[in-house]
Amino acid sequence: MALYSEAVMDHFMNPRNVGVIENADGVGEVGNAKCGDIMKIYLKIENNIIVDVKFETFGCGSAIASSSMATEMIKGKSIDDAMKLTNKAVAEALSGLPAHKMHCSVLAEEAIKSALKNYYDKNGIPYDKSQFPDCENCAHCHE
């Protein structure tokens, strides 16, 4: 199907890191069912390194592919590096997304940030609040 790049179709058809981490060190969920996409990210963190990451996604093909790609991009990285992951980098790694699907990559970035914020909060690690988007009013959903 020409709607999506080969990379998107590959990550959609064979998604990496699908699943749940029990007792995860950080969990983040963004989006809502009303809008048609929800992403949930689970992180296992040891010595500031993301040693494991899993995702669950309710959404379209590009939402699933973006989740899959984003988890691949942060697995084995430090939490500081994971914080720097941008939606653009996810979209580029997928050889681009159709314009009206760019919000899927935004969701992936936000889901990871949300999981990291959860990790910081749980462990009492101080952080700069401005780094985190206000997911209650995120731009991808105008409801």
Binding site: M1, M9, F12, M13, P15, V18, G19, V20, E29, A33, K34, C35, G36, D37, I38, M39, K40, F55, E56, T57, F58, G59, C60, G61, A63, I64, H100, K101, C141, H142, E143
Partner: protein, 395 residues
Amino acid sequence: MQVYADNAATTKMSSHAINAMLPYFDKVYGNPSSLHSIGQEAKEVLDAAREKVAACLGCEPREIYFTSGGSEADNQAIRSAAINGARKGKKHIISTAFEHHAVLHTLQKLEKEGFEVTLLDVREGHNVTAQQVKDAIREDTCLVTTMYANNEIGSVLPIAEIGAICKEAGVVFHTDAVQAAGHIAIDVKEQNIDMLSLSGHKFHGPKGVGALYVRKGLMVHNLIEGGAQERGKRAGTENIAGIVGLAAALEDACANLEANTAKVVAMRDKLIAGLSQIPHSALNGDPVNRLPGNVSFCFEGIEGESLLLLLDAKGVCASSGSACTSGSLDPSHVLLAIGRVHDVAHGSLRLSLCHYNTEEEVDHILKVVPEVVTLLRNMSPVWRDLQTGKREYIL
């Protein structure tokens, strides 16, 4: 195996229709408005096509206007009735909440021009009743326009009853029969239909050609100004090959209506019975008064576009009313109109069959749809929340 189950979107052309069209590209290629013999030959073909279409609908040939398709026919019918109504000071129009956008957007435009539009509720039974139409008719109602059958959920409306009510009230009745023509027996006189739109490619004819029936005596207004084609009501040199293809396909569909219906209904019912076994799913549309080929479901906990992509990979071409397939944030207005909430409307699947489909294909669909639904549910955080009781099931 590749299964085409999106016949409500468009159909494969029949070889009968293709063969009927072929001579009109390079053999009888004249302009019907030309006086010479090649032109007049084309004129005769045009007349014959008009007669065939009229015979299928139970009207006179002079009541048929060929258009570029269903959307144009809908636009012209509604605009014409609105202009006629406004001249008498009648500026109220009745329609339904689940019309095609060709109707809804035309009505929205008319609202901006000072018309008042009542859209009938379709939540009860996923259909409208003739009584709802009757109750909505006012002194200033100039038009009732309801689809004959819904393209997404397959509900077939009580057209003859609505026609009778409109006749009694003296209100013009238009029906968008794009999904019905060639699939359901239509008799515009018996059903008191004043105007009817149809489209060639929905019954194995060509794309880009449609027809509008307008009862004799009703004033038709042009959307397209120019030459005197179509009795002066639709300018532009006639698409002869397309019109011939439409007429051949409609004639074929009407001649084989009973046999095709029996075959398609049996496949439809097998699919509905099989897919109903998937837990937390629901059939959309009127279960009884239903298009022969329509199967429409919502599956809780999944999203429609990913469902379509996976089905496509497994050889099933289908359609969905999810937001992601529409390019907007909202799922289909039809699913919302019948009362499906957003969360559930995103997980819709439409399979639309025709007589070219086979039992084997139906079995293939019944095998892969549950597999794909399960696969997507297993990676869905919504489904996990439903299963663990964090979220309540809607279906």
